[in-house]
Point group: none
Chain length 122, copies 4
DNA sequence: GTGGTCTAGACCACT
DNA sequence: GTGGTCTAGACCACC
């Protein structure tokens, strides 16, 4: 995975894991790979993965069972909320920014439709 | 101004200055405040402002006239393109991300309309 | 049983067994359950129980009779001392800590009475 | 400082700093020593101190001002609550434990008075 | 010099 | 082999 050097890697890993949860690659209660394996996958130091996972655990998305491994939360509701929350968060951030640049509602929607029409995003 | 501690401050200052240009607070060929004054405005070290301005100069948006100070580019075309470029860039980044989260086109447009309807962004 | 993840489990098991002795759930010379059974009770690996028991043996509270199993010490005096020793140890540790936080004697006694009055501890 | 090897060092450092706040060695809004200096004081790796301080920051007891250093929270109320909270926490934990060992209220209070009378804790 | 992040590599408790 | 902690040492952004 390629990381943006302007954002801490552990945050980017958190994002990626959230994404994997949201799109269903990780399902509730599923065991995730070990810290060491994820570190290899991400091409990153185990400590960095550890930090990302600890933060996710603090957010309640992961549980760690001491010696057996880490698991996606089995709180299906929480997991389902996650998708909506992530989308809304990204959308709101986008809207704040473009409004900040002086766009009005119709311009925004036009822009979106236009860019989607290009079909580059599939 | 409040900065996101996870992103280099000089990048955030660059963004802000671009924004001021786009919304017309800075017009082509206008002289901008001194590094020192901007540093005070932004509540930031002059070195940090310096770096942001240098980068903007590299992008052609600013010219520094040695003794007299720094000016917004007088290339009106460039300035005019800026708004569109910024919007498109932000839009595309947004679209990439939400597509990455498994959203399809209609969902995206619905989301946008929904959030705009809230009216929180005006 | 719930363990505090910040303290080695074998220590917490030692504590619990001492507690069972002190409150009379285990009486002198009584045979205690097998490592395997204790491990199941505690929801823990047999090795961990093993370590706890070995330490207790070193302290003279347990004897292992090779083939027939492990027994609470028959040294009734030792067992009787245990309760006092545990109480004193915990009390002293508590006093050291709160004194360390700047409490004087009367404050301490007031605190204790106040918390006991709440009746949450019965 | 001597650390108990059975408890993570960063937790013990957090405790110690809270203690320093409670007894007034650190006052609200005061700047605390740098991570590096504290690391030397505690005889510990800077990363370990960093972790302790980050956790305290998350608890709102500390603020870090990017490049100038870290400061005790200026929320005097929060700081004042801390002392009570720490004492109550320790007292309750003590009471739970000794009750768990079968002590009744009068025994507890007698124990406390007796140990205090020894005068070893001053 | 300050906080923050990251790496590399070690050790521990526990399975 | 698993999560968790710790060390030593580096680099970065910022002052």
């Amino acid at each position: 995975m390629k990381f943006d050097s302007n954002l801490p890697i552990y945050l980017q890993i958190m994002e990626e894991i959230k994404r994997l949860i949201v799109i269903g690659s990780y399902v509730p209660a599923q065991k995730i790979p070990s810290v060491r394996d994820l570190a290899i996958d991400f091409g990153v130091n185990p400590n960095t993965v550890q930090r990302a996972l600890s933060e996710l655990e603090r957010e309640g998305l992961l549980n760690s069972e001491r010696t057996s491994g880490r698991y996606i939360s089995d709180d299906e509701q929480l997991i389902q909320q996650l998708k909506q929350k992530m989308i809304i968060q990204k959308t709101d951030q986008y809207l704040v920014e473009v409004k900040h640049y002086g766009c009005d509602d119709t311009t925004i929607i036009e822009s979106i439709k236009e860019r989607l029409a290009d079909g580059k995003f599939n």
